[in-house]
Symmetry: C2
Subunit: 334 residues, 2 copies
């Protein structure tokens, strides 16, 4: 798989022009989420933190970007057959929403049985058929491939697809342009990282628009496969049996495609604890009036906890998802 030349087209990196085309495709359908800052927080940090409020996105996370871009590119006959996706919840909601809005005949979402209830319910709410699986004992990719083969459904992977990565990259494109329009010159962008699609898309966008700046991938403790892979220079996996509150970002190994994009481009990987993610959720609540889910708050947590020094710098941070059960949110506030 390391010989890129032998890979199918969809498993190679998108160009910057494809990210721009994705941005054109989502315009007027998705939300151009605001880039906010808190003067009080900036004073505390001694730097300038620009927060991309992506929890305000359709379906409550950045995943709607990649889903919309990928499903917009289905052929009419593919739309008539349908799609299948596996997801911890946010990608599935994005695919279900985009599928309904684009008139895709059938949308099947494979979700872990221990996904937050709100995510399962909302995915069904968009008209998708939800198939639950055991996250520990079943292989979601194999399940997805089997469903795809049996029912003729197009498999929409959460990150290993250049169209999904291009869609995710529109977040980076927007942040760069919004920051420049505010007169800010960001030194870095922090994004959450599971399989690496968001960091890959953003790294490609920032390479073109802000080449002196660096994108960092932020993961929760126990699921720092990308941080360790970047350090090792090769894809390594997490030890099984880990647990984290950050349900949205629990991939076990970087994607082949995403790692090939991320490895030469990212500034590095940063790791935060569950407690730091919960503390960041509270800061998003207090300083910005925004709801964040634990996995969506890890990038903010990295900035607040000093994983990336903020003093004298301008750092953009993506708050990437708001799909959190009320009990978990109340826990973050307690």
């Amino acid at each position: 798989m390391d010989d890129i030349g032998s890979l199918p087209w969809h498993l190679t990196a998108p160009s910057f022009a494809e990210i721009e085309a994705a941005a054109d495709r989502i315009r007027g359908v998705l939300v151009e989420t605001p880039l906010l800052e808190s003067e009080r927080l900036n004073a505390q940090l001694g730097g300038r933190l620009l927060l991309k409020a992506e929890g305000l996105q359709r379906t409550g996370s950045f995943k709607a970007r990649g889903a919309w871009n990928r499903l917009s590119l289905l052929t009419p006959e593919e739309r008539a057959r349908g799609v299948v996706a596996f997801s911890s919840g946010n990608h599935g909601q994005g695919v279900a929403w985009a599928g309904r809005r684009l008139g895709v005949a059938s949308v099947v979402i494979l979700m872990p049985a221990d996904a937050p209830a709100a995510k399962i319910e909302r995915t069904r709410g968009w008209g998708a058929e939800v198939v639950l699986y055991d996250r520990v004992h079943e292989d979601r990719e194999a399940l997805g491939r089997r469903l795809s083969a049996e029912r003729g459904l197009v498999l929409v992977p959460p990150y290993e697809d250049r169209r999904v990565i291009a869609g995710a990259g529109t977040l980076g494109l927007e942040v760069a342009r919004q920051a420049l329009a505010m007169g800010a010159a960001p030194d870095a962008l922090l994004v959450c990282c599971s399989g690496g699609g968001l960091s890959a898309g953003c790294a490609l966008a920032w390479e073109a628009l802000l080449p002196a700046a660096r994108v960092f991938a932020v993961e929760p403790e126990g699921f720092d496969d990308t941080a360790r892979s970047l350090a090792a220079g090769e894809r390594v996996s997490n030890a099984p049996g880990g647990a984290s509150l950050c349900d949205a970002v629990l991939a076990m190994t970087p994607g082949v495609l995403t790692f090939s994009i991320n490895a030469p481009r990212l500034g590095g990987g940063l790791v935060v604890s569950d407690a730091e993610a919960l503390a960041a959720m509270r800061v998003a609540f207090e300083e910005f009036g925004l709801v964040a889910e634990p996995g969506g708050a890890v990038a903010l947590a990295a900035a607040l906890s000093g994983r990336l020094p903020m003093a004298g710098r301008t750092v953009a941070v993506a708050l990437t998802g708001a799909n959190v059960d009320p009990t978990m949110f109340a826990r973050a506030l307690a």
Copy 2:
């Protein structure tokens, strides 16, 4: 006071051009907060609800608009003297923030001793001197006038001032333009109402931009002085001793200036219970990923509870503030 001709200039209605000038003044300083919608919620309501996410505004409420506009118009010598404002918390934060940013020498904020701790702390955080008073037994307007006279401070009222009303009206201006840009044709705008400045400013903006639509003022039970005044055709006050969780919107009587603007223009007044405001906070959390304070959620509560029928209509709703203590927010989620 009913003879408008005898009133000083600042106690007469602003023109639409003054609202546009205020919008120019706040551009690049305040946030153009997004106008969001939830397809799921629209389906439930059978109409289209456009939510102005004004809790994302600087200082966490729409009050920064009027404060910035008023303080921007201070003369250099007034800036050198300073300002005083009375406020349940949000106007005070707006004035304190604007005062610091504009280099006003001294900012004094009179706040009720029972205001939420976060509001008091944040007002002090902007460098203001906070003077607490007893909301039941002391007259904040008299206190404000005394401080103004004793210390040579310019009194910045929360609504009885054409410059403050013009600033608040920029919210209506933005909503109208954002809705039109989305291809929506709103039938109505719902805003919270305390002294009536926001509804007055928005009514003036919508009269110019969306003359067929109507603006409605929404108040909490026990503090429905504007609703009853509109029905009676004259200013009436609330019975003393009322209590509400909606701390931001507890004015006892409509302003003279605001009522003179609102009476001929508003579609009417709507009243919601504390329980309905809390339920609306939960909907803002679940459907939009937004934090709202109880008083900031009353307009959304009116739409959700059917006070204004939504079926077949497009209704813009302002979610006007996010300054809520974590315990109160957790109560709304419980």
